[in-house]
Amino acid sequence: MSETRGSAKAALPFRCRAIQRELVAYLDGELSRRKARRVARHLDSCTGCLAERDALDRVRGMVGELAGPSLEESAERLALARVRQAIGEGSSRGALSAWRLPALAASLGAAMIVIWQIQTRVAPKPVEVASERSSSEGVVAQTAVGGGKAEGGTGRGLEPEKGRSKRAMGVKIAKRGRSDSTLSSPPGPLYENPELFLDLPLVLDLEKLEEFEAVMQALPGSGRGPKARGTDERG
């Protein structure tokens, strides 16, 4: 059968084959005017293509006339009820989803704020450090220039002040020393006050010492007061 078909097709003149390819579109009225006229002219003179057109037209008619199912009204109502139910569920879900995005954005923003606040509390404040530095440097400069007496009268009175300035400078140096491990020359203040070198091991572990001191003071009957501490520091 296919051989017959193939041979029949092969036997068709090229023009007929080209026209028959256009026949369905011609019947559907989908060809341009020019093409439709060309097909019509060919059909006027070619009985084979005319028969093919009729056969294709019958097939088109058969497919177009295929009856649909007789849809019961109850089936349609049932389907509508189901879809209505879906609409109800969909709208409630839609309302939820409408809130989902803003809620997510708000929670994300809140989390960011909390993280930022934690970071700013944990991290050392550079402004405070700078002010601490400037104040300590100022004290050092004052002690260096005024020699202590000009500032506070007696040397004793100046001791705690000097001690504080030393301590502040020590902390500063300790911080620098820890952060900058490749220190090739002594820092400026240390260069100006080389006696601080003597206290350097002490100030490097100043925090531990202070902690130790606090523990000692807290012990009952230790007899170590602020006065004693001042003595220790001097000694």
């Binding site: 029949a8 026949l23 579109a25 019958r58 058969m62 497919v63 295929l66 649909g68 209505r84 609409i87």
Partner: protein, 189 residues
């Protein structure tokens, strides 16, 4: 559809009543199974509801609707159980003389019983051949012949060019013409 998109639920019911039967018919011609066709049509309208917020009235509503319907039918064809079960069940019910809720070819009341039997046989044969067509050819032919769409509308529905639609419809019709030669006559043989 625009009214429904704007929140008028009654507008959806209008759409449903106007198009549900047609979608069932299309799905029935596509799949050959009435129960499945009803399920598909229901799924199609549920998808319409879901997709309503994204609907843009650029093309005709029916183009959009039949695009959803065609995709649903093509998905149905991919189901493995479809190929084995559908034909057998429909044949059995027809042989047993059950009411399947359909007439085969349009019966205008002028045919004799023998003609009706021939009509049923022919309709079975056409459906069988339709079911053998590739999905895109079947869709193009049914949208064009059964739904009466222009090639331009079919192209919009299937998301292909008009030239492609012309080719799909021609190939589908030519194949049916070959397979139904005993019914339509073959001058060349």
């Amino acid at each position: 559809m625009v009214r429904f998109k704007n929140g008028e639920v009654e507008a959806f019911e209008e759409l449903f009543k106007r198009h549900f039967g047609k979608v069932v018919n299309f799905a029935y011609q596509f799949t050959g199974s009435q129960p499945r066709a009803q399920e598909i049509a229901q799924e199609v309208f549920m998808q319409v509801v879901k997709a309503a917020p994204r609907y843009k009235p650029q093309a005709k509503f029916t183009t959009w609707l039949y695009r959803i319907a065609t995709n649903a039918c093509l998905n149905e064809l991919r189901r493995p159980e479809h190929r084995t079960s559908r034909r057998g069940l429909e044949r059995e019910s027809a042989e047993e003389g059950e009411e399947v809720g359909e007439t085969d070819l349009e019966d205008h009341g002028t045919h004799q019983p023998d003609d009706r039997l021939a009509g049923r046989e022919l309709a079975d044969k056409i459906r069988e051949e339709l079911s053998r067509l590739p999905g895109n050819q079947r869709a193009a032919l049914l949208l064009s012949r059964v739904e009466g769409m222009s090639y331009e509308e079919v192209a919009g529905t299937l998301g292909v060019s008009e030239g492609a639609v012309k080719s799909l419809v021609f190939r589908a019709t030519a194949r049916l013409r070959r397979e139904l030669a005993e019914f339509v006559g073959d001058e060349r043989d």
